[in-house]
């Protein structure tokens, strides 16, 4: 199965390379990868449908839990087949949809890369591997939505989609890791076989649900999906209706059987979120006049439907979910393709400008009407038996307080679905208020063909549900071991489910007939801000917040930087020193009167440097400090050090003078009183801290220093009496080597700075 993924990657690279030469035909080349996948899946299908899943694992970074484990079971076969099959059709469609241009190769490459990633999600049997492919679909989706990158709206929509789904993905990663640690494995099949029950399973699943909800555009994260419609239609058809948005649903379907009952919040949360999404999406779809947006909200609604069905986590529900997943993919992809054809041939996709298209585009209209009818849940079309099954489950009950909510919600949602399906089909193809005589030319065969295939399938599965049953039943059994015995049927007799279906369609008809009243009502009822506005405000807040924080901490002023560094250096250790440091037992104030005298003079000179107002005076005081310290070195017993200090100080004075001669005599600018006090305070704190720390550190010493060794070895082993010099040139010669390197580089730097011409001299 890894080979399939790699094949897609290879196809993507090929498309990228050949895009310029082949033009839109490059999509046909790219279509080879999903085509091979269809073949391969079909080849494995018999065994899998019999309940014998195929496993495959490749160790990537096992100690991190990263294992490329794949598993093809009935459910994976269903979803994977859809991904690959619709992938082929979309590519064919795209080869006629796109015009020759620089972006074609990129679009084909990204589309096939996406197909590979999506296939990866479905086939992966490892939580982390799912995450890998999950984020890959987010990235490819980002690049695909923004493929027309010169449009600002496309860029913004791409970012919106990426942030929401990518963010959800990160939450999901957190959840995966938690779940993996509770279970002791990341292998999905093992976790599902023996679900962990530790205290962190709840939080883990909550995080995973966030990821699933964002990806499947569930309320309140749904705002990105309509925006993503700014992508070219083949992309919308594939990513944002048939495949990627189903990733979240897919994950819920996988996890629900194991956790829906065990985790208290799962069922109410998922069911309520799903229903809310279903109703909200359907409601919004009733209002849209852009056919593509209408379908987008319809997709949101249908995703809510599937989330609800799978979320319950019981066999009948799961079975219904799998059936809807299949039929939705068929009709929704067809509908998107039709919208693309309309847009392509009629030059608009606005309902207000369209009407009676069946005259100009009879075949297209037929395809559209069949697909829309399937969406509406009319009999003899694929969705009907699936929906029946769902109503059956809903009316069957057994979920306590959720029962009435589910029944009403699902029927209501289906009514809305029927209403916008009618509106779609009527408004553009059959009747239509615009009734503008369109001069649309018939579409190319490659444009219509794929939609035709899909609609034909909708009819076939509607007439003979047993065909759908062949794949749906094993899919449900793969999720639920005890889902056997459930089957789709054309006719169940006059059951309560049939009544529910009739009610849904009937209410749908009423809503459709009274559509203008509905729109007026919608305008009046708008209380919640649209999701996209919430997102926009969040981004604005983030940007402003970033400016605020950065403006505060990164204020560009060197004195403040230095002050913060110094205070940090004092505060962190000081806390411990005050808490537990001990001062020395014996106090020696000074060893000789001479030493006392020199210290006083040195301190005086140091104060002098700080208060001097003239540069030269300050430098002279600095010299005083240096010489004072040198004398202290002598007293301490360090003649080499003292000599060096004397000479260095002298040379430093000379350099100072060389530089200062070009600068004003006095220091410029008088800082404010407040900053003066602040500086004094910091200076005082640092001074006290260093003194105190020095005393504490010295008091903490217990043993002798390593210098005993130096004194002992210097003459006999290194042949020198001056131990300091021996240390410098022998014991620790590599220090000295580094030190002269510093000198050398500094010399080079000085020369470069002084000699390089000053270009921007003012």
């Amino acid at each position: 199965m890894l080979i399939l993924i790699l094949l897609h990657a290879l196809a993507a690279l090929t498309a990228l390379a050949l895009g310029r030469r082949l033009g839109p035909r490059v999509f046909l080349v790219a279509a080879l990868a999903p085509l091979v996948s269809v073949g391969l899946l079909a080849g494995r299908a018999p065994g899998v449908l019999d309940g014998r899943p195929v496993d495959e694992a490749l160790r990537w970074a096992p100690s991190l839990g990263l294992v490329a484990a794949f598993r093809l079971d009935g459910f994976a076969l269903l979803v994977g087949g859809l991904v690959a099959g619709i992938g082929v059709l979309v590519m064919v469609y795209a080869s006629a949809y796109f015009h020759r241009g620089p972006a074609v190769g990129r679009a084909a490459a990204l589309l096939v890369a996406f197909a590979g990633a999506m296939l990866g999600i479905v086939l992966a049997d490892d939580l982390l591997l799912i995450y890998v492919f999950w984020e890959l679909t987010s990235i490819t989706s980002y690049l695909l939505i923004g493929i027309e990158d010169q449009k600002g709206s496309a860029r913004a929509a791409a970012l919106h989609a990426l942030l929401v789904t990518g963010g959800g993905g990160l939450a999901m990663l957190g959840g995966f890791v938690l779940l993996g640690q509770e279970a002791g494995t990341y292998r999905l099949s093992e976790i599902l076989a023996a679900p962990p029950s530790g205290g962190l399973v709840g939080p883990a699943l909550a995080l995973i649900l966030v990821g699933a909800f964002t990806k499947s555009a569930q309320f309140p994260f749904h705002g990105w999906l309509p925006g993503a419609m700014s992508a070219p239609t083949p992309i919308s058809a594939y990513l944002h209706s048939a495949t990627m948005v189903k990733a979240g649903v897919y994950l819920i379907a996988r996890l629900a059987p194991a956790f829906a009952a065990a985790v208290a919040f799962w069922r109410p949360t998922v069911v309520l979120v799903g229903l809310a999404t279903m109703l909200l999406g359907g409601w919004r779809a009733l209002r849209e006049t852009d056919l593509k947006l209408l379908l987008a909200y319809g997709t949101v609604s249908q995703l809510g439907f599937m989330t609800t069905l799978f979320g319950v986590g019981l066999p009948e529900w799961t079975f219904a979910g799998a059936a809807i997943l299949l039929t939705h993919a068929l009709f929704k992809a067809a509908l998107f393709m039709v919208v693309g054809i309309v847009d392509h041939q009629a030059g608009t996709r606005d309902l207000r400008h369209l009407g009676v298209l069946w005259r100009a585009l009879p075949m297209t209209a037929a395809v559209a009407v069949v697909a829309a009818a399937s969406m509406a849940g009319l009999p003899l079309l694929a969705t009907f038996p699936a929906k029946e099954f769902a109503f059956e489950a809903a009316l069957h009950g057994g979920l306590g307080r959720l029962d009435p909510v589910l029944a009403v919600g699902l029927v209501g949602g289906s009514a809305l679905t029927a209403a916008y399906a009618f509106r779609f089909a009527w408004g553009a193809f059959i009747g239509g208020r615009g009734a503008q005589p369109t001069t649309a030319k018939p579409p190319a065969r490659a444009l219509l063909g794929p939609a035709l295939v899909l609609s034909a399938l909708s009819i076939a599965l509607g007439v003979a549900p047993v065909l759908a049953d062949k794949v749906v039943a094993p899919a449900a059994q793969a999720l639920h071991a005890d889902a056997s015995g459930l089957h789709l049927a054309l006719w169940h007799g006059i059951t309560s489910a049939l009544v529910a279906s009739a009610i849904a369609v009937g209410v749908g008809v009423v809503l459709f007939v009274r559509r203008y009243a509905v729109v007026r009502l919608q305008r009046r009822l708008q209380v919640l801000p649209p999701a996209s506005a919430v997102y926009a405000r969040a981004i604005e807040r983030l940007l402003h917040g970033a400016d605020l924080v950065t403006g505060f901490v990164q204020n560009g002023s060197l004195p403040i930087y230095l002050g913060v560094i110094l205070l940090t250096a004092v505060m962190l250790p000081a806390a411990h020193l005050v808490a537990g440091g001990s001062l020395p037992q014996q106090w020696v104030v000074a060893e000789t009167p001479m030493q006392a005298l020199v210290t006083v003079l040195t301190i005086g000179a140091a104060i002098g440097t700080a208060v001097a107002a003239r540069r030269f005076v300050a430098v002279l005081f600095l010299g005083g400090v240096g010489y004072g310290v040198a004398v202290l070195f002598v007293i301490q017993g360090a003649p080499d050090l003292a000599l060096t200090q004397f000479l260095v100080e002298t040379l430093a004075l000379v350099i100072f003078v060389l530089v200062l001669r070009h600068l004003p005599e006095r220091f410029g600018g008088s800082p404010s009183r407040r900053s003066h006090v602040l500086r004094l305070a910091v200076a005082g704190i640092v001074g006290v801290f260093v003194t105190a720390f020095a005393l504490v550190a010295a008091a903490a010493r217990t043993g002798e220093s390593v210098s005993e060794e130096f004194l002992a070895r210097s003459l006999p082993e290194a042949g020198g009496r001056n131990v300091v010099n021996v240390i410098l040139v022998d014991f620790r010669a590599i220090d000295t080597l580094g030190e002269i390197t510093v000198l050398g580089v500094a010399a080079l730097g000085v020369a470069a700075l002084v000699r390089t011409k000053v270009d921007d001299d003012t």
Partner: protein, 121 residues
């Protein structure tokens, strides 16, 4: 440790820090130099009490710890080299701007202004 010397070290640090927290590069360099003196003195103090110079001549008596002396010597010379570079930098800055005031970072100030709502992106 000798208290008076520890106090001297503290005083040098204080004076150095006071000079450091200003905008004139000359003062900053002087401040860093005073700080370096303080650090070197501290290094020497870390070796303990005073003693005879660590030169092996067969005489008895307490010998000063040679290692901190060697370390301090290295530190002094390094500080000298780097200060020379910093002064060359001041020299070049003077040639470019005719002063040795350390300016605030331009981009940082712009963002700070933006955060206060004084300018827009």
């Amino acid at each position: 440790m000798i208290v008076l010397l520890a106090v001297t070290v503290g005083a040098l640090y204080a004076a150095g820090v006071y000079l450091l927290l200003q905008r004139t590069l000359t003062r900053i360099v002087i401040g860093l130099a005073v700080l370096a003196h303080g650090a070197n003195l501290l290094l020497l103090l870390a070796g303990g009490r005073a003693g005879r110079a660590p030169i092996v001549d067969g005489e008895a008596g307490r010998v000063a710890d040679p290692l901190p002396q060697a370390l301090a010597l290295t530190a002094i010379v390094i500080a000298f080299g780097v200060s020379a570079f910093l002064l060359a930098l001041a020299h070049r800055s003077r040639r470019q701007t005719h002063d040795d005031i350390v300016q605030d970072d331009v981009e940082d100030r712009r963002i700070a202004r933006m955060a206060r709502g004084e300018t827009h992106r």
